[in-house]
Subunit: 385 residues, 2 copies
């Protein structure tokens, strides 16, 4: 909830925000067949819910994202939430108009029940025993949270990357509860190459001697090497060859080659830094779970691999957005979604944004992208009236 | 040298071949400034050197390649050398016509002096103390081997990937000693993305607790986890998204999702197998050195980043070959080489082969590729006459 905005926080920011946690005293049965006897979801909200609760938007986060989408959690925060550029007063997802919610996904490490939480059966953290969670599970738990908040129907469910998959799954699983689905930089399912990269990241973590089958908390260690490698590798796939070339080229840290294995090229330094700084910010077990949810996502699977059929009951209108230089989930993957939607006669707007930042482009300010979101959200707003 | 061919070995194979080793009692000073007091080069040769020693071809190997290009080292060998499809009697690099040499590069792990060799100063393996070697060092050592064999000038120097970089460096460093340079699936220098992937592989190896700063031989261990991860990652970059899709799709090993971290998708199983089987075949220190040689390769650097100027003294004719689906060293990278050669008025033939196997395409039988090599080698043969 916004408080007074200190001088250092920009005017277009939602300001200081705090998360809330809802404890679900009920059990939840997951797609894998296992049950959590009780669970928490931590979430942030921005803007005001109107009287008839018809202006709610759900934002779904991606692999390493969390509930902190916009604003600052304290005056000391150096950075705002991960989508601050697009969420706030007067921004495309306008907190003056909409009530915006984002929850940390089940299996997460930012406050929702996950591997770091205490397993009531053992009194110890779940660790490696936490069940595998899926996009469908997340959507289900988000729907339970909507029930708690009294929100019958979302104006829009929105997400980028793994978040976009949730936006798509929402349209399939709750056709009556979502008016618009905004699917950004996503894919209808991972390719073998995508799964391959995830598998290398998982192997890096699980082969780290400090992993202890996911029960490293009990040993007071972190599989630092593994999570660092996973993040370094991830980073390469989030950027484009072009953006890395523009950002680092072959620049040498000391202006010359030193013929040793220290960091010599700027890109090495950047990746090592990104890897190192992730270690203490993110939980390795959560990373494993998120990559599995990505690998498993394949809504067409139970419809004979026919995505159009999987989407046939959806009632939402769709905005699908891709970025030219995204090679993790390339524009062709978004076009697969668009084609399936058209094949089953859905309303879909598609925008392919020219951007050189690769997959990361969905998080970065970009005029064209902003214009597309503004324009579509105007359409959404009109549909609410 | 070919012997009799057993019944199980195909007729178009060079048959059973054995490597030879030349011990250089002389010191060699490397580009890094360090000196090896003496060194060995192991090499294989196929075909017969003619009387005026004018029919010699040098093949240079890539990252995980070695001197065993074609034929079989024993009747028990299940697989022939790494370029057997292109080297042999009647093949594009025709052993009935040419005398073909390939040496294991310095720093290698297949018999040439490298990290596993005894450091005469300490009586122990060099391990992590082996000096960083460069493409230029390899070319220099290959020229010393040519001297030993009495070969003044190569008809052609040929290589794919890191081997192609050697073929290019030969044209620069020894303009009088090479008539044709055949540069396949290479790049004039690595991009930041290429370096990034190499850095992840290096970090995987060097952060493995069994690495011991490269002195793991003394501990009777191998940094298995690290080298396995490096190879898994490498493999993804050698294949194309398209070929992985064709080869594995999203096929599940047991036909269903099991909601655990075992290998579920075929691509996971493939990558783990490739990683595991590499551990005992290749040395981790050599892997580190090879990736560094790749990162450092940049012949334009000492010519104000002007590749045309770097190539201006070359006297060879060039064949440059790329593959459409190669994203490690994409066709654009080969075209940079072609453009530089044209800018400095060299004779260059360029062929972009349609192939869906990614970077690996340079090793795989392909009619168009074969035709291009046949045709160019006919031209080479005519130039020898």
């Amino acid at each position: 909830m916004p408080n007074s905005i200190p001088a250092t926080i920009p005017n277009d920011s939602i300001g200081i925000v705090s998360p809330e946690t809802h404890h679900f005293a009920q059990a939840i049965t997951l797609e894998c067949g296992r049950t959590l006897p009780e669970f928490d979801l931590i979430y942030e909200t921005y803007g005001e819910l109107n009287n008839n609760k018809s202006n709610a938007i759900l934002i779904c986060h991606a692999l390493s994202g969390d509930q902190h989408v916009a604003g600052y959690n304290s005056k000391e925060d150096k950075k705002p939430g991960w989508w601050n550029a697009y969420v706030g007063p007067g921004k495309p997802f306008d907190t003056n108009k909409f009530f915006i919610i984002c929850a940390n996904n089940l299996g997460g490490c930012k406050g929702s029940t996950g591997p770091m939480s205490i397993n009531p059966d053992t009194g110890k953290p779940y660790g490696g025993d936490f069940p595998i969670v899926t996009v469908k599970d997340w959507v289900y738990s988000q729907a339970l949270l909507a029930d708690v908040l009294g929100i019958e129907k979302f104006v829009a469910v929105i997400g980028g990357s793994l978040g976009g998959m949730q936006a798509l799954q929402w349209a399939i699983d709750y056709p009556e509860r979502i008016a618009h689905s905004i699917v950004i930089a996503a894919a209808p399912k991972l390719s073998a190459q995508n799964i391959g990269f995830n598998e290398v990241a998982r192997q890096a973590i699980s082969s780290d001697p400090d992993f202890h089958n996911g029960h490293y908390y009990e040993y007071n260690v972190i599989p630092r090497r593994g999570i660092k490698l996973a993040r370094m590798l991830g980073h390469i796939t989030y950027l484009s060859d072009e953006s890395m070339r523009a950002k680092f080229g072959r620049e040498l840290r000391e202006g010359k080659i030193n013929f040793n294995f220290d960091t010599e090229f700027q890109v090495e330094s950047y990746l090592r830094y990104q890897g190192e700084s992730f270690v203490d910010k993110f939980d390795a077990n959560t990373y494993l779970l998120m990559t599995k949810a990505l690998d498993y996502f394949d809504p067409a699977k139970e419809h004979n691999d026919n995505l159009a059929e999987a989407l046939s009951n959806a009632k939402a209108r769709f905005l699908v957005v891709s970025f030219t230089s995204d090679w993790r989930f390339a524009p062709e993957r978004s076009r697969e979604i668009v084609k399936a939607l058209l094949d089953t006669n859905k309303s879909v707007t598609y925008s392919e944004i020219t951007a050189n930042q690769g997959h990361d482009a969905f998080l970065i300010p970009n005029k064209d992208y902003q214009d597309v979101l503004y324009s579509y959200m105007q359409h959404v707003e009109d549909s609410v009236k």
